[in-house]
């Protein structure tokens, strides 16, 4: 049920219009059908009445037959003209009115009481002296009179004979009139179906054209927004097209894009300036401490400067991530992991790389390296050692860094990826780092269209997974 409901604007509007049209057409079909049924019914009754009365109206009939030989009696009734085709199969003259000695009602046949009542009203109005009145309907093939008189050469469409028998008060004889009534009102129904189909085609066609004028620029705008979300540059903005409302939306969107891009550019320039303005005095300080005699003092000062530099780099990187100037390159992640692991090995830290499958993914090498480096350095800092492994899971490359540390309380895991959050174990700067490591790793994962997942290992320790899409 839910799947049948279209998701797109075009589909939904077309479906709504189609449904509305269907309901409207159904109502009008029902009304039309009912009024034509009524007309048919009254035509049948009037024909019957006329035929039954024909002896009383002999003069009239004689005159009619002079002018319209062989024609149906109801044909002079203008009101009935339109419904002629419904019941007016010309029955042989002898069948139209028959004089018999008995009632036409055979054993086991039902009287048609509704018609009887209506016919009685008509006949009463004509001042007929009604003794007995019987109305019934019968399949023509079961009608003895029909078989006798018309035989097989008279073919009829599906329908029934409506038979009325009248015995006047002063007579013993029955006058039996027969009218053929065709089944249903198929022609009208057919017209209605054709009419509806034509309406559908025209309306839906025009609507589809109109809607495409709206949905096409909308789709283009959607694509554009998605692209801008990734690239944040104003290259390839779309031209305003479509109805005025959409044109205004597109123009406004383009202006917003330009503003965002300008702000981001300003931010980059500003960060560059901050970096320069802070790093030059830091460099000067770093040079000056070389003249400090006390070696221990000098090492502590150098470490302090390194700390500041690292924080500064993290902050600047975090602000810049996602603004990569070059497209990602297909990279052998195994070699990338090895390069990072070796950096730590060189510093004498217990970091190992497990054998794994060859995994190639499009990444920004410097950024991916940085993210992995942050994860490894966290593992070493809090877990004492790091085990790095590389895997392929579905369409994702998974760089996994596991440690044997205390892990993180489950309710704190999400917080750990927020800027400047640090594990309780290391509030002090000595081991705490900048608190930007995980934030940066997560930002880098997201920049690649991937994610960073932290989880406690059942056997103890934390595992951090850098999941990057391979396509």
């Amino acid at each position: 049920m839910m799947r049948l409901w279209p998701r797109s604007l075009l589909g939904q509007v077309l479906l709504a219009v189609a449904a509305a049209l269907l309901i409207a057409q159904t109502i009008s079909a029902v009304l039309l059908y009912r009024s034509s049924e009524q007309r048919r019914e009254s035509a049948i009754l009037h024909s019957l009445a006329y035929r039954l009365e024909s002896s009383q109206a002999e003069r009239r009939e004689a005159r009619e037959h002079r002018f319209r030989r062989d024609d149906d009696i109801d044909s002079d009734d203008k009101r009935d003209m339109r419904s002629r085709e419904n019941h007016d199969r010309r029955l042989p003259r002898a069948l139209r009115l028959e004089i018999t000695d008995s009632s036409p009602l055979a054993d086991g046949e039902q009287r048609d009481l509704a018609r009887e009542k209506a016919l009685r009203t008509i006949l009463t109005e004509e001042d007929a002296r009604i003794g007995d009145l019987v109305v019934l309907s019968r399949d023509p093939h079961h009608d003895a009179a029909f078989a006798r008189i018309a035989g097989t050469r008279f073919e009829l469409p599906d329908g029934e004979l409506v038979i009325a028998g009248l015995r006047l008060t002063d007579s013993d004889q029955w006058r039996v009139a027969r009218v053929f009534a065709r089944n249903g009102d198929q022609r009208a129904l057919q017209t209605l179906v054709v009419q509806t189909a034509v309406l559908y085609l025209v309306l839906v066609g025009i609507l589809a054209l109109l809607l495409r004028r709206i949905t096409r620029p909308l789709a283009a705008l959607t694509n554009r927004v998605e692209r801008f979300a990734r690239s944040q540059d104003t290259e390839g903005q779309i031209e305003p097209t479509g109805p005025d409302d959409l044109r205004r939306l597109i123009t406004a969107h383009n202006a917003m894009e330009a503003r965002i891009a300008a702000m981001l550019d300003e931010k980059d320039v500003m960060l560059g300036a901050i970096g320069h303005d802070l790093k030059t005095p830091l460099a000067a300080l770093r040079v000056r401490i070389e003249s400090v005699e006390d070696e221990g003092e000098r090492a502590r000062m150098a470490a302090g400067i390194e700390d500041i530099t690292r924080s500064l780099d993290d902050i600047l990187s975090l602000a810049r991530v996602g603004r990569a100037s070059e497209p990602p390159e297909r990279t052998d992640l195994g070699a990338l992991a090895a390069a990072v692991v070796e950096e730590f090995e060189d510093m004498g830290q217990p970091v190992t790389l497990a054998d794994g499958p060859r995994v190639v993914a499009p990444v920004h090498v410097t950024w991916a390296r940085r993210a992995l480096r942050n994860l490894v350095s966290n593992a070493v800092r809090y877990g004492g050692a790091a085990e790095v492994s590389l895997d392929r899971e579905g369409n994702e490359a998974v760089l996994r860094v596991a440690d044997h540390g205390p892990g993180i309380p489950a309710d704190r895991i999400a917080d750990m990826m927020e800027p400047f959050a640090r594990g309780e174990a290391s509030r002090n700067r000595e081991t705490g780092g900048t608190g930007l490591g995980l934030t940066l790793a997560r930002a880098i994962a997201e920049q690649h269209g991937g994610r960073l997942v932290l989880a406690n290992r059942p056997e103890g320790g934390l595992v951090a997974e850098l999941r990057l899409p391979m396509e």
Binding site: H276, A283, E290, S325, E329, A338
Partner: protein, 244 residues
């Protein structure tokens, strides 16, 4: 490290806070330092005396370090080391493309700077006529020295460390020659101070892991009995670097 005549260095930086202590430090290290606070001042200093090497700050008001660098490399054929505040790869590539020999990112360790100065001078004395930024190609592998990017025959980037990069360049410059460990160490030692006392073999085995199909049975980098290595493939130089 005593030299017969002191090495002359031209130090160009608009920031006196950095320039002055750095000049003092380099003097203490035995260099003859001449200071300039702008590109214009540097140009007039060059008229009087030609130094052995120039240290240039990139970001300076007026003419910037990159433009001065181009002039020094093209007109004076002078070794240049850039001082930059940004660590972005693009800055490095632009600098190296213009012809700078090396760069250091502020704040740098003064000792590392001195090591770089010596390394650059050593390289320039070797007088390598081959175009510095030409790429290398061996059996489908490509190495772009500017971007320091190694790609395998399928075009996949294989990240390598700076030490591995230097080692590979040393091999690619001398294909099919036996290079002994001491020479290799000399050619590879660069900014990583720890490399000075670290065995080359470690680096070689790491490099093998990245480029050999079977690192236990190496095809490219072969160990030569008697202490040394040989790069056992033909190397082609590609001008204009590799195309990504």
């Amino acid at each position: 490290m005593t030299e017969p005549a002191p090495i002359r260095i031209l130090l160009v930086d608009d920031e006196a806070t950095l320039r002055e202590p750095l000049a003092a430090y380099l003097s203490r290290q035995g260099f003859a330092v001449r200071e300039a606070d702008s590109a214009a001042a540097a140009r007039s200093a060059l008229l009087e005396e030609s130094p052995d090497l120039a240290l240039l700050d990139i970001m300076m008001p007026g003419e910037d370090g990159l433009s001065l660098c181009r002039h020094l490399v093209e007109a004076k054929d002078l070794p240049v080391i850039l001082l930059t505040a940004k660590g972005e790869a693009t800055d490095r590539i632009v600098g190296l493309e213009i012809g700078a020999d090396d760069y250091v990112v502020k704040p740098f360790e003064p000792r590392e700077l001195v090591a770089r100065i010596r390394s650059v001078l050593r390289r320039s004395h070797r007088a390598t006529p081959v175009e510095e930024d030409a790429g290398y190609e061996f059996e489908g592998w490509q190495l772009d020295p500017l971007k320091r990017r190694l790609t395998d025959p399928e075009g996949t980037t294989v990240p390598i460390s700076t030490a591995e990069f230097r080692l590979l360049v040393a091999f690619l410059d001398r294909p099919r020659q036996v290079i002994d460990r001491d020479r290799l160490l000399d050619m590879v030692q660069g900014r990583e101070a720890h490399l000075f006392d670290r065995a080359v073999d470690n680096q070689v085995s790491r490099l093998r892991r990245k480029i050999e199909t079977d690192s236990r049975n190496p095809y490219f980098i072969q160990t030569v009995r008697g202490g040394g290595y040989r790069f056992a493939a033909d190397v082609r130089r590609i001008t204009g670097g590799t195309s990504a």
